[in-house]
């Protein structure tokens, strides 16, 4: 309970620090410095309160709180704040906070969607390596995330929204897609909280034919509860209960047969909802402002040197890369070897960590040896972040494996 309050407090403080950052832009240079400073202190305060929340949870559960998706995401959000503070200490550019802090907030909010009950560690997780591997991986990824924030800022700063040429249009579209992805994520969070808050429920029972150990076909029934109105119901399922939504009393269609498992249908439903609401939101915004969203955000960036942004993005990635390699790959393997005897099993999560690593390796080679600076480098930092997000979220939700956490 205490933890919950603290959590809310730190959330609010994060929010304020974001606002603090936003304010800093409308004013002149000295004001920028002043508000930027305030924003920084609020961020530090937020970090401290979040850290104490983490500490409390640690004491309550007896283990470091990074063992399920909720815990990890909130921890990751905290790391992003930390990474931002470090980068700020080096470069003293408060504007980065404008993007890095909301990123942290969104990540923490996203984490809050998932079940937050304290659960005991399964035996395989009872090791000191849990602490080291996950925390370092989160820290490394946090720096890479700040690199993304700076890279995206660079694009917003430099992409010419009036450019009608083919490559110009591609850039504009790219920026828009990234913004749409962010809006969809926010839509998802809002959806879950609102429907959950309103107490919405729908239930289905799915009948699956499985083979048991003797090779005989057995009918298995599984129940699933939806907290978002079902547009799509699980394959071969029967409606037990559904609260009507907008006059809809039945799901619109059924999940295809190859989506096995009772949860697949629910996840598909969640994805459809998020995409739909995200696109509708974006569409509304476009209708109102009549220009690409990026074009509206872009003027905020005027006044910051894009070379600096490029440099910051690179530096953040350069700091994050070795930490990520150490935490997500090396320590992960050492731990896997100790727990399961296999330091590398091509588990989807492991493989995606490798994919992330390969990507940033390519990034560094292209930047350092082939002179890919500026725009190209910025786009790579965006794609890299998408890969990280997929590793953290997509793999857990879509692909099953050793690493899966509970889903929504």
């Amino acid at each position: 309970m205490v933890a919950f309050i603290l959590y809310n407090l730190s959330f609010i403080v994060f929010g304020i620090s974001v606002l603090g950052k936003r304010w800093s832009n409308r004013d002149a240079d000295s004001h920028m410095r002043r508000w930027g400073g305030i924003g920084l202190w609020i961020a530090i305060l937020g970090l401290i309160s979040h850290a104490s929340f983490t500490g409390l949870r640690w004491a309550a559960s007896g283990h470091i709180p990074v063992s399920n998706l909720y815990e990890f995401l909130t921890f990751f959000g905290m790391m992003v704040t930390l990474a931002f503070i470090v980068i700020y200490a080096i470069y003293r550019k408060p504007l980065i906070g404008l993007f890095a802090m909301p990123l942290s907030v969104v990540i923490v909010a996203y984490g809050a969607v998932f079940p937050s009950a304290v659960t005991p560690l399964i035996p395989q997780l009872q090791s000191i390596w849990l602490y080291i591997h996950v925390t370092l991986a989160a820290l490394g990824e946090a720096f890479l995330a700040v690199g993304f924030a700076a890279g995206f800022m660079y694009l917003l700063r430099t992409v010419n929204f009036k450019d009608r040429s083919a490559s110009g249009k591609r850039q504009i579209r790219g920026v828009e897609y990234t913004l749409i992805a962010l809006i969809t994520l926010i839509a998802f969070i809002v959806l879950v909280f609102s429907f959950n808050g309103a107490g919405y429920r729908a239930e289905f029972v799915q009948t699956l034919i499985e083979e048991d150990e003797l090779g005989q076909k057995v009918e298995v029934e599984q129940t699933v509860t939806y907290i978002i109105p079902p547009i799509v119901k699980p394959h071969n399922s029967v409606q037990v209960e559904m609260q009507p939504f907008l006059g809809m009393k039945e799901p619109l269609f059924e999940a295809p047969a190859w989506m096995k498992g009772v949860n697949a249908g629910r996840k598909l439903n969640t994805i459809i909802w998020s995409l739909a609401v995200g696109l509708i939101l974006y569409g509304l915004i476009r209708l109102i402002i009549r220009r690409p969203l990026g074009a509206v955000v872009s003027p905020i960036m005027n006044g910051i040197d894009e070379q600096d942004l490029d440099e910051i993005s690179y530096r953040a990635i350069a700091i994050g890369y070795p930490i990520f390699t150490l935490g997500a790959l090396i320590f992960a393997s050492i731990w896997a070897h100790q727990a399961w005897g296999r330091f590398w099993a091509w588990d989807p999560k492991e493989t995606w960590a490798l994919i992330t690593w390969l990507f940033y390796t390519a990034y560094l080679h292209l930047r350092l040896s082939r002179g890919w600076q500026g725009t190209k480098s910025a786009w790579m930092s965006v794609i890299g972040f998408l890969i990280i997000m997929f590793t953290l979220i997509g793999v857990n939700l879509v692909i099953a494996g050793l690493h899966s956490y509970a889903g929504v």
Binding site: S61, P123, I330, F343, H365
Partner: protein, 553 residues
């Protein structure tokens, strides 16, 4: 400033070689392919000499193997692997294929012995296609391994191609640089000084303060720091090569092994692939409940208390018990494997499956016990002796059932054991009994009609409640893999977190030229140079040192 070509004959370790060299204005002989003179830095390659943009400072403008003209097949292969562009392509292709390998579960986790039909059944057309393309075993496939091999080749050849000329060039470098070289650097300051010597003294002090190593020659000065950071990429490549080579050694006999096996409580099994046996003394589930948070379960673990044995005789004979010698005892838990002789045994999983293991039957005649039969329900002995009665076990059905009225067994698990016992009594008469202890059923099939039949009662029973799933593993390559990984990390850190910086000073009369170069973080270099110049009385803004406006080459 045209380079003059000279035909020179060299004697190299006994072999004769013909070489054309390029001789620089300053008198130094450069190998063919050199871009910037090794001594004074003057551009000697024609195209570079005739343009006027920033100088390409990679590898100090030294001649590289892969830049040779007129490449033969061997050279073409070398050039291919030495190219960074190719390396990036290889990395990206590996990345994309790895993504494909995560779309569907791979064969090693699929719960089926017939993968081909499993994929088709579970995932339909997509699954069929996935399997037929070989993606179901992406990471073990020959093309994936081939890609990794190509990356290894690229690592080796890229590094060799560059590090040797770079090392030589950095070793040989001199403080005196040609004007053109300096004027085409990315960081440049040109100014005037009144007294060369006194300025140089101040400059040297200011530069040394910032931890540069300073060498002087006449009125030229070279300040250099953190050269070690240049070796970073090559060290990290070496680390990766070691890692990949270590992985390769897994193919050597005795270097890698992985076998899963299961042991019931009380059971001793042969550890597959080894000469060892493992006994499961007891399996325990551990549950600890915490004081906080409403009595929630805080800790859950499981362990097998195991004894490791070594077989010393009769190891492969199904008719004799292997002779075992105890080696050690260990409680195997997840994260705490049993380690011995290069083998590690891990606790992977378990199942709650109660099963009787040993049954003791008391044999009574007229209510009086005449002995007991201790029956091993997995593999019972065929003969027993009860005082003066000899017993032969001629039939055993672990899980009795009846098929067309004839006794048969449903499985190999002793869920309902039934025995056919041939008893030979002291007086030579024989009797045959059929006993089903769990069903409390026994009957005398044949024997003396006039005497009371013997009775059989369950006297005792041992059971196993848990089946423990373990895995035995040999992974001799592991320390080398780790070493490779750590060397990689070390290389990355020294390459990324430090920068190699050099400052050149050249004074001709009263004209001062200061140029500087770094492999990364120009921002910081300009800042630092501005601070140094400040100390010598020259106040300028760091940004003005940026010379990149000079027509990009």
């Amino acid at each position: 400033m045209k380079p003059s070509a000279g035909l020179v004959v060299f004697k190299q370790g006994g072999a004769l070689a013909l070489l054309t060299n390029t001789k620089c204005e300053c008198g130094h002989q450069n190998p063919v392919g050199t871009v910037l003179c090794e001594a004074c830095g003057l551009p000697v390659q024609q195209e570079v000499a005739e343009s006027d943009g920033l100088l390409e400072m990679r590898y100090e403008g030294a001649a590289r193997r892969s830049q040779k003209s007129n490449p033969k097949l061997l050279d073409r292969i070398w050039n291919f692997f030495s190219s960074v562009k190719v390396a990036v392509y290889l990395i990206i292709i590996t990345l994309l294929l790895s993504i494909l390998g995560t779309l569907l579960p791979q064969v090693n986790v699929v719960p089926s012995y017939d993968p081909a039909s499993y994929y088709a059944e579970e995932y339909g057309k997509l699954g069929e296609l996935y399997y037929s393309l070989g993606l179901a075993d992406t990471f073990g496939s020959w093309w994936y391994k081939g890609l990794v091999l190509m990356i290894a080749a690229s690592l080796i050849i890229c590094s060799l191609d560059r590090i040797i000329p770079l090392y030589k060039a950095l070793k040989k470098q001199q403080p005196v640089k040609h004007e053109t070289f300096l004027k085409r650097q990315k960081v440049l300051y040109i100014g005037e000084v009144a007294d060369a010597e006194s300025w140089l003294k101040e400059a040297e002090e200011a530069i040394r303060e910032r931890r540069y190593q300073v060498t002087r020659e006449g009125t030229s000065l070279l300040g250099e720091k953190n050269r070690f950071s240049r070796w970073g990429p090559y060290i990290n490549h070496v680390g990766l090569i070691i890692l990949l080579a270590a992985l390769l050694t897994r193919g050597l006999p005795g270097w890698y092994m992985e076998q899963g096996f299961s042991v019931n409580e009380g059971q001793t099994v042969s550890i597959p692939g080894t000469n060892y046996y493992l006994k499961n003394l007891k399996f325990t589930e551990v549950k600890e409940v915490g004081p906080h948070v409403s009595g929630q379960e805080l800790q859950f673990a499981f362990e097998t208390d195991a004894i490791l044995y070594r077989c010393v005789a009769d190891c492969n004979n199904p008719f004799a018990e292997p002779q075992l010698e105890e080696v050690l005892q260990h409680k195997i838990r997840p994260n705490e494997p049993l380690k011995y002789d290069g083998y590690s045994i891990y606790q992977i999983d378990y199942a709650f499956s109660p099963q009787a293991t040993i049954m003791t039957l008391n044999v009574l005649r007229d209510g009086q016990p005449i002995g007991e039969l201790v029956l091993n329900l997995t593999d019972p002995a065929p003969a027993y002796q009860l005082g003066d009665v000899s017993v032969e076990l001629t039939g055993y059905y672990p899980e009795l059932t009846s098929v067309d009225g004839v006794p048969a067994t449903k499985s190999r698990l002793p869920n309902n054991p039934a025995f056919i016992l041939d008893m030979t009594l002291a007086d030579g008469t024989t009797e045959q009994y059929f006993v089903v202890p769990f069903q409390q059923y026994q009957t005398r099939i044949s024997g003396a009609e006039d005497s009371e039949p013997l009775t059989f009662e369950i006297g005792g029973m041992e059971a196993s409640f848990y089946s423990s799933y373990l895995m035995v593993k040999v992974e001799r390559a592991l320390p080398y893999v780790l070493a490779g990984a750590l060397i990689f990390l070390f290389g990355v850190v020294i390459g990324l977190y430090w920068q190699h910086r050099r400052i050149w000073v050249r004074i001709d009369g009263s004209r001062l030229i200061v140029a500087a170069h770094t492999n990364k973080n120009w921002y910081g270099l300009r800042d630092e140079l501005a601070k140094i110049l400040d100390k010598t009385g020259i106040e300028i803004d760091a940004k003005s040192l940026d010379n990149s406006g000079v027509g990009k080459s």
